[in-house]
């Protein structure tokens, strides 16, 4: 006998549709990434997602949950994908797998799997890697511009060894990192020769994240509150600093187009499980992540602080929700 609870009818959308819409939003940027940096990232995605699904299955088995529906829900897929595109493509595969282990097993299944994790799994994986392997995590492959041959030319599917020596020819720090280093050494911003008239590879990818994000808003997978509040917050706070001193603080536009700003705004802080559910809460969450990010970028030890800001704000979610409960119909 079929169990029928009220209501007996239901809209046809499932967790999988939600998750795979997110992947769809990420695809265009992936295309650019391959064009710029080579198809190594494909190898990482292939191995990394495979490992994520494997870990997911193992955890489900151990916890006595049915495997199929939870593998098919696509959440591990999204988590792994987001982690992989946040780390340098030339990362040794073992390192990446450690990150995935922390995402799926420690940050997700230890807390009870999908829906129960208070922290953003991908960001936990990222932060663990950044703290443990700073050298690997700050050396990105250098791009010679978009090159269609990157899709076919054989370089390396995945990397296995550590980059122990300085391969200045093939790796470099990200723009945010470089700026930080230069400022550290006492240079002034306008002497750095960074102009926004030509877009770097990172910036073009960021723009595609923005477009992919708009797609998610259009598809109603996310609401505008989180992305907008984060973007505005970063823009305003870095803008204030820039106004205060143009020589030591980069322009707000630079902060928007570099680092993980757009990726985070649309794909990371919007993780429904670990972000607040109330509208006011979402706005506070976005603003504070932006503020912390700007502070870390300008004053802290890490070139980009979004991952830490996200995890830190994850901790605050229950309190934020507690204080931003909307009024119930009929109550003042």
């Amino acid at each position: 006998m079929v169990m029928i609870d009220s209501p007996a009818i239901k809209e046809r959308s499932t967790v999988s549709t939600v998750m795979f819409t997110v992947i769809l939003g990420l695809l265009p940027a992936l295309f650019l990434q391959i064009g710029f940096f080579g198809y190594q990232i494909l190898g990482n995605l292939f191995v990394g997602i495979g490992f994520a699904l494997f870990l997911e299955a193992v955890c489900l088995k151990l916890r006595n949950y049915p495997i199929r529906p939870f593998i098919l829900d696509g959440s591990a897929f999204v988590t792994a994908w987001l982690l992989i595109i946040s780390v340098p493509a030339n990362i040794p595969i073992w390192t990446l797998l450690i990150g995935i282990f922390f995402s799926i097993v420690v940050a997700k299944h230890a807390y009870g799997g999908i829906g129960s994790n208070p922290f953003n799994p991908a960001m936990i994986g990222y932060a663990v890697l950044l703290i443990s392997f700073p050298k690997i995590m700050t050396n990105w492959p250098i791009s010679d511009g978009f090159d269609i041959r990157n899709f076919i030319q054989f370089s390396q599917f995945i990397s296995i060894e550590n980059i122990n020596e300085a391969y200045d020819a093939i790796v470099s720090a990200t723009p945010l990192d470089q700026i930080k280093t230069s400022l550290f050494l006492g240079k002034e911003v306008n002497a750095l020769g960074i102009s926004l008239s030509t877009l770097s590879s990172y910036q073009m990818i960021a723009i595609l994240y923005f477009l992919g994000g708009l797609f998610l808003v259009y598809k109603k997978v996310i609401t505008w509150h989180l992305p907008l509040s984060l973007i505005l917050s970063i823009y305003i706070f870095s803008g204030l600093l820039h106004l205060y001193d143009q020589n030591t603080y980069m322009s707000p536009l630079f902060h928007l187009l570099n680092g993980a700003t757009f990726l985070a705004a649309f794909f990371i802080i919007t993780d429904p499980v670990s972000s607040p559910t109330t509208l006011k809460g979402k706005i506070i969450f976005g603003i504070l992540i932006g503020l912390i990010t700007v502070i870390i970028r300008n004053y802290g030890g890490y070139p980009d602080g979004i991952a830490f800001a996200v995890i830190f704000m994850n901790i605050c979610v229950p309190l934020i929700e507690k204080f931003t409960q909307p009024k119930v119909f009929g109550y003042e």
Binding site: A110, Y111, P118, I124, Y299, G300, G301, F308, P318
Partner: protein, 193 residues
């Protein structure tokens, strides 16, 4: 002014007394099951911490240093702190009996909250002046209360989560503390400015 601000930033965020300096963990784990109790506990601890760091500073400065008796720091600081706690406890039992009951074994354990002795000792080690010591104590109290309350609010939520049985209780709490500590690593460098 800025240096006082930096002291606070440092003990609350960068070198958070609980998550980075790893002090005061037992009450952090023990009194974080419910938000309400954690708030009362942080108030009590904050009180003792601030008073404790001031009195300890006075003892250190006026009694121990002049006579070269630094080796008596531990014993004199802690005895005074214990007395402050005991006194607080008595006042609480008299005036807020219910709170007293709920904080239970953890009230006397404020005495053995490592942070409560750790901060005065650090004060002495860093040779802070009285104002700095007081601010350091207050900052430590803030840092403790801040993470305790956040932690409690998180743990309350866990009751509805599908946490695996073997992880329930202290294991998940410890893991959460670890991940909180991980996020506080992101503040590295902010105490310099």
């Amino acid at each position: 002014m800025t240096e006082y601000f930096l002291i606070i930033i440092s003990v609350v965020f960068v070198n958070n007394i609980v998550l980075t300096k790893i002090l005061g963990l037992c009450p952090f784990m023990g009194v974080s099951k419910k938000l309400d109790t954690s708030i009362s506990m942080s108030a009590a601890t904050a009180f003792v911490l601030t008073i404790g760091s001031i009195t300890s500073w006075l003892i250190n400065y006026f009694l121990l240093v002049p006579y070269n008796l630094e080796y008596l720091r531990t014993i004199s600081f802690i005895v005074v702190i214990a007395a402050v706690v005991q006194f607080t406890e008595m006042v609480m039992e008299k005036n807020y009996p219910y709170l007293y009951r709920v904080l239970g074994i953890f009230l006397p354990l404020i005495t053995t909250n490592c942070a409560v002795l750790g901060i005065p000792l650090l004060n002495a080690q860093l040779s802070y002046n009285l104002l700095e010591a007081a601010i350091f104590g207050l900052g430590g109290a803030l840092g403790f209360s801040f993470v305790l309350i956040l932690f409690a609010s998180l743990r309350e939520k866990f009751e509805g989560a599908n946490i695996p049985n073997a992880m329930k209780g202290s294991a998940i709490a410890m893991l959460t503390a670890g991940l909180m500590s991980l996020s506080f690593m992101g503040f590295i460098g902010l105490d310099r400015l």
